[in-house]
């Protein structure tokens, strides 16, 4: 059992950060929302529509909730631009010209102008992450499901990526479900932070981060940020210790 008695409400347009020790079941929760995993009880609803419940244990994967993966899932045989155009091109609602225009625009907004014709393997991992987020956003999803997207990046790139993500968020106001084990990242980005227990996971504490948006990296040294960190560090550490003793594997 990876998740038990987990109850969470996320408002539209909110950034909800899920923090927990490795292996606690966070990814299972995300997979259930995305439709890659079955649930055994309870239900997951989006805007009042039931995605899955006991009668229908597995949600249908759909473009209203798009996942951005930990190690990236950009198609290596397509260029960055082709990757970004993938969703709309497949559905064919817009014309080719419209799709290309939108794609180029969104890539430029995300600071990706100039690498459109490169393959994902040719650009840095930070850029790849951004391309993947843009690829997801091209489909106008209601929710972005991010599974520790910046885990594999070095801390210097990470700090730039955080600001880049916020910039993209301010332009698109999509709901974000963001899994991380980095408490600082969680408090910096999120409206809401849910600290999860070890396996089987459920929210141990849900905080509302009252630092106003738009935020920039100056926030990290602000008094309120430090206060919030102090408030939550101990809880997170407690769960991390439990996980360590239980011998949780890295997922």
């Amino acid at each position: 059992m990876a998740v038990d008695h987990c109850s969470l409400d996320i408002a539209a347009g909110e950034i909800c950060m899920i923090v927990g020790p490795s292996g606690c079941g966070k990814t299972t929760l995300l997979n259930a929302i995305a439709g890659f995993h079955e649930i055994t009880s309870g239900s997951i609803t989006l805007d009042g529509n039931v995605l899955c419940n006991a009668a229908k244990p597995k949600a249908d994967p759909g473009s209203d909730r798009i996942v951005v993966f930990q190690n990236g899932a950009l198609f290596p045989w397509k260029t960055n631009l082709e990757n970004v155009k993938f969703g709309p091109a497949m559905r064919g609602i817009m014309s080719k010209a419209e799709i290309t225009e939108k794609a180029l625009g969104m890539m430029a907004d995300a600071g990706l102008a100039g690498v459109e014709q490169n393959f994902p393997g040719e650009v840095s991992s930070g850029m790849r992450r951004r391309v993947e987020i843009v690829r997801a956003l091209m489909n106008d999803p209601k929710v972005l499901l991010l599974d520790e997207p910046y885990r594999a990046l070095d801390s210097l790139t990470k700090s730039v990526m955080h600001e880049a993500l916020l910039e993209i968020y301010y332009k698109n106001k999509v709901t974000i479900f963001f899994i991380t084990h980095d408490l600082e990242e969680a408090i910096f980005l999120g409206h809401k932070v849910a600290i999860m227990t070890t396996r089987p996971c459920k929210p141990k504490k849900v905080l509302t981060i009252d630092i106003p948006h738009p935020r920039d990296y100056g926030v990290l040294t602000s008094k309120r940020f430090r206060e919030l960190m102090e408030e939550t560090e101990e809880i997170v550490h407690e769960e991390a210790l439990k996980a360590f003793e239980a011998g949780e594997r890295e997922n």
Binding site: G35, F36, P61, F69, A73, F75, W77, F86, N118
Partner: protein, 277 residues
């Protein structure tokens, strides 16, 4: 000026490598010539190594063969068989492999038979092939087809099955149907494996065609053309024209090398994203 010094250094290095390569080839021929002429050099008769024709004789023979229509015909026959067999293997093998990779029902039906027949070496098929096929040409081509076919199918299945699960999940997340998944994910994702299978298959095809030609012998007006480079080598042996054996061997080597290089180049062209790493 460091840039100029660097480029000079690189070209010097390149030349050294080239000379080293050339030197080793030249050394090989020199050694060969010496070994083949040991009896004259040492004044000892009946040395084993002198049975092998020296390069001087081989090249002389080759030079005269260049104008021989039969020699040219041997090339033509072998190449056409390889092309036909290889093409058939590619055109049949790729769809079969893809079908087996996407449909587990089809896989379970076909794979057992496939796996039982696969260990039979293509050459073991030669007799039954000759009996079954109406012309000798078809029987040799069938055997070359078999060699490449099994390799390509195995590589296609392996390649399709090893596509990372995350790509499927990402595509489904963006609303891809099964057909879209096949067209936009499985097909392009399998191309590198197809390229590998084709290159290996081409090598096998050449090996098989030569042996098949040796076994099935020359042609008659009834059964078809016969011949080919493999037959050329065997016939030279039987006819006692030993330098021609070596000419034949080198010809086969060159032909095989050119064929594999061509396939490799095509493979690189269809996998542009792998060339940029």
């Amino acid at each position: 000026m460091p840039a100029v010094a660097a480029s000079k250094g690189i070209s010097r290095l390149f030349n050294r490598k080239l000379y080293r390569g050339l030197a080793s080839v030249v050394l090989f021929f020199v050694l060969w010539q010496v070994l083949a002429s040991l009896d004259k050099l040492l004044g000892i008769d009946s040395l084993r190594s002198t049975v092998i024709p020296p390069p001087s004789v081989v090249f002389k023979t080759w030079w005269s063969l260049l104008l021989d229509p039969n020699y040219a015909k041997s090339w033509y026959l072998s190449v056409s068989r390889v092309l036909a067999g290889f093409l058939a293997a590619v055109l049949l093998g790729i769809p079969l492999g893809l079908l087996m990779a996407v449909s587990s029902k089809f896989y379970r039906t076909v794979f057992p038979t496939f796996e039982v027949l696969r260990p039979i070496p293509p050459l073991a098929w030669v007799p039954i092939s000759i009996i079954f096929w109406p012309t000798q040409e078809l029987s040799i081509t069938f055997v070359t087809f078999l060699g490449a076919f099994t390799t390509i199918v195995i590589n296609v299945i392996g390649g399709a099955k090893s596509i990372d699960m995350r790509y499927f999940q990402a595509a489904r997340s963006m609303g891809a149907s099964n057909w879209e998944i096949f067209r936009r994910l499985i097909l392009p994702g399998t191309i590198p494996s197809i390229a590998v299978g084709a290159e290996v298959g081409m090598g096998i095809t050449w090996a098989v065609v030569v042996a098949a030609e040796m076994i099935s012998g020359g042609g008659s007006s009834l059964s078809g053309a016969g011949g080919g480079l493999g037959y050329f080598v065997w016939n030279s042996y039987v006819g006692g024209v030993f330098p021609q054996i070596i000419v034949g061997m080198f010809s086969i080597g060159i032909a095989g090398y050119v064929a594999s290089s061509a396939i490799r180049k095509i493979g690189k062209l269809v996998t542009p994203w792998l060339q940029t790493r």
